[in-house]
Symmetry: D3
């Protein structure tokens, strides 16, 4: 089985981290191809950047020449999953939803700890559309930007632990969801500090993608995610596939 | 006052129709500039096309050189309003929300009559995020594609009337909202056939944009729609402004 | 265009203030007629007084002899809008809803800052019925009675600013709505102190009433707000129109 | 124990019917005083009439000279309960809510069968504010006006049975609530025809009022229903108590 | 009239307390039979124990040989009411729901003060299923275990008062519901300390059971609570009735 | 990895079918142990039977002597998952929730097709508590009892297909969930007839259990599902483990 794990920003180091995390979760026999979009912002911290990333991710996948069995959208709280689902016949798993669904299986409520305060509404909106908001105790911001995360792991851990502890104590969260693709790898530290289970979206998405492939399930094409009607679209794909 | 009314698809005839409808609603002294995106699909009938349109609209506005006081996003049920709000200091009014807010002032419930069945979930999602879903009795599809609308006005009217009447009778709608920018101009025919008020989003958006400008109100910049952080973004804007 | 702006209490000074605020928002060519009910309480701070005001407002409008194009119900969180809509063919705009709809156009969430704690549930109920509660971050009380407001503007501003700042910081409000007709005129001070947009309901209602008139839209008469059936009603109108 | 059962319309025959129904439900030792408002409409079938009734009921109760232990507001879907709760120290029980609470104890869902289509939204709103809407499967109209009810009992029963059966079959109601004070007395016929339990609001309200008195419980005065602040109110009470 | 009040745990002292409280609320002529299950936990403080109690209560009622007119399920936040409703033709009243319905009649919001933190989610779930969650301001834990309650009444009162006061002040509760069958008898102390009405579920359930019996209403058998289909069930009842 | 798949009824043939279905979904290396409770009903079609099954399942698992890595609760819409989560340290996956979470990954909405009409409310309640109701388009009954299912596969398929097609057409479902453990094996037939993806809960639960084990995630023990406090419980476990 081959899974594409598509980063939403253009930072190669983050794509590598996502690939590494995905591989550590993958079953034997699952190959992970981590992709970086051909354009967009080096980190996604707002709606403008997220909409641009949605298109860049679709462009990246569409211009990919190999075969694959599933796609993971590796941006937390980002736009674009619905578009990919229309374009593809294979399953598309968004890490936000993958993490939330997984958290629901192991606790009555979960809290998301994310990066900047401005990402909170975006995540709340994605959870609302996914019908998962009622299980979400809170979305909390650590105050760190996306690219600050890997520069100072210990500072990241401290900031996330502080919010995670507050979520458990004040918001009555029973599970913590790491609210950024770039937080992969710190699950164990957060778990140790809070004693509650910690879910990373990239790992969860890999397993759920494997699950769908194993069950021979893929996106329903009956209405919301039917394939686009044939049209003459200007400048699409934006990045022509290599010849 | 100058308002940009941005079409979401690349069909110039529809841009003209939007401009005409906007002008007919505008107060004396309000100038309407109707814009067509530089790329994208000739009609938006799904999430992939809508995400692409969101970026194309942002690109079109950002590469526009003139001054303006407000922007109207003239695609019903489309993505992108949040991104524009981040990029601009002037008010941004989406026609979906403009129509829904206006309908709420004149009836207890409203129904949207749109084009294809596949547009229904997109519109429902936008209304849900806008917190307006509880006033929406139903979103119904006429079965006509976006570009079918202006080709056969009488067929359009018949198809919309049929769904509008069903909405009033079975879904208990008290107001009908026209669920496509391309339906502008048929309000009166629908109103006559159903006897309930009919709201066109483009006209409503013009008046609400004028309202915001008159009240010196614009998008709050405190959190959700704060300006993007300065970043080096690849290929942005996609269409460099003319020199 | 002529708009009736009807105060809900019997205090003439407040009617004047409402008229002044309405006029400052009105377009050239819009005439504002500010009316005081013929009976009721000097300030409305509870359900009993509000129900009485609902009837007094309907009585005042029904006994008004002139012509008019729209009516503004200038009591924040008050009862009565539905009754007026049944009695009249012209649009009726409630300042609570006008402010909330306007706030939704410029921020993801809004908070209302009102007078006494006991007004909070009434406002929450009106927003709930209007289907706007999900965008409302909080309704906060300044602790000042309705008639305390104009006696000490600076004290009013201080009390409202304190709650507005708390709403932005703790409740994550992005827009502040002034939750009393008598707060008209302090928008700018609150805006300066909080840096978020501030919406006054009277001004918003004037613009939305103008919008409806311009769009030739008025209350749907199909069900909820159909004209009352002809009946012999005892003591109605309560104040016979002058002969 | 003495309970005031206040009709909301001015039709004495309906007051008598309400009194009779209340007495048939009352415990030995409970005295029922049925009151007719001094003004208002002969039947309440809309918001204007309902607001007027709210004030007329408050006026009637306030001008009543005797002692009493509880008040029943005997109008289904009507305004006014909150105002009475502010004015009085004894419990106030609204028949809409009494019926709904009672229905919740004996079935998973209930449907209301009421008079005219235009009453449906009013009842839905009262249930929504009461937080009981999620248990309500539907509110259906029989098409009969309030005053048609007692003129032709068999026609009333047929019309109500038809809607009640539809509610059980199509809306999955498990209990039927009679949605008009004037439907008292036909419970048994509806029950026989549908085989599901049928709740009359007047009877339910009497028992719940007795329950509150027996438990020495009355309206909380801490916030929403605190007594009105002392004020000089013009024309109140509207009907001076007899000297 | 004879009412069975069934304790959910196996502690006889608590059964006695429940019986005493029920009798103090019962009308003259109502006989209370307090029953203890034949198996289960001495106190119910979690889902495992609650599910076991649900079966033990059904077993206790089914193996009871006498006649009775209604059953009260005297465990706050416990499972099992739906099963009893299927098995019996007489009304079944759960104290959680009885208290919540009663509280709704006398205040806009109520808070529950219960025992341990781990009971909070269970109570929230029961209120959610009962459709009463929107009126519930909060469920707060006093930190005392069920069996700690009667050992130290004054400590119980202090702990409950502290949470009740916090509920009124911070959660805007207007009524306090005692969230444990074992708290019966401290209503007056809590009421005095908080000045808001206090509802005990056992007392409320007795009155509501009497109400249903008086109104000749019982569980609808049309769908959710239809009698079980005849089946050969292994080991049921678990406790054979005495011969 | 070893997973216990626990049937909720006492019918061995159904346990076998569950085991077979689970094995067909399991990854190489995953061993499935299918267990039948020691007591209860031969099929679960109501709340009484479901509560009894909840206890019987807990009893069966507790009295099982072997080691295992996860438990699957193989009754659709049944009680008991919370109790098992308290008792065990390994993950517990309920097939209702497993199916619903899986369906959410491949369609915007899903419908459940179950057995008898009386099972519908139970399933709705479980989905409501799981916070998944907003994605559920409908729960429909095929009219077949649990034990009718395997007696006449073709009749089962016809009945399920009829409801599944109606769900897609009228309720706008995009995915069908098989609402009974005994429907395992007919996914392909339903899928072929409806063209939408079909999810079987047992298969989904196996993959999600494997997912949790692979991610080293298990139930949070911080509040809702903390281990029961040590107590002396009468008759527990009901079936002593074999010596």
């Amino acid at each position: 089985m081959r899974i594409l794990a598509v980063n939403v920003n253009t930072t190669d180091a983050m794509t590598e981290m996502i690939g590494k995390q995905a591989r550590s979760a993958a079953a034997p026999g699952t190959e992970i191809i981590a992709l970086t979009p051909h354009f967009g912002a080096p980190s996604i911290e707002g709606n403008f950047e997220s909409y641009l990333a949605a298109v860049a991710v679709m462009d990246r996948v569409v211009s990919y020449r190999g075969e694959y069995d599933a796609v993971i959208l590796a941006g937390f709280g980002e736009h674009g999953r619905e578009g990919l689902q229309e374009l593809l016949d294979v399953p598309v798993v968004d890490i936000t939803e993958a993490a939330a669904h997984t958290a629901c299986l192991i606790g009555r409520t979960f809290s998301v700890v994310t990066t900047l305060d401005r990402a909170v509404p975006m995540i709340e909106d994605r959870l609302k559309l996914a019908g998962l908001a009622s299980r979400c105790a809170s979305v909390r911001a650590s105050g760190l930007g996306v690219l600050d995360l890997d520069e100072a792991p210990s500072r990241t851990i401290d900031a996330v632990v502080a919010q995670a502890k507050a979520a458990v104590e004040f918001d009555r969260a029973e599970v913590i969801v790491l609210g950024c693709g770039g937080m992969a790898g710190i699950e164990h530290a957060i778990r140790e500090a809070t004693t509650v289970p910690v879910v990373d979206g990239v790992a969860a998405a890999v397993k759920l993608a494997e699950t769908l492939v194993a069950l021979r399930l893929s996106t329903s094409k009956v209405r919301s995610y039917a394939a686009p009607r044939p049209k003459s679209i200007t400048r699409w794909p934006m990045t022509p596939p290599p010849t």
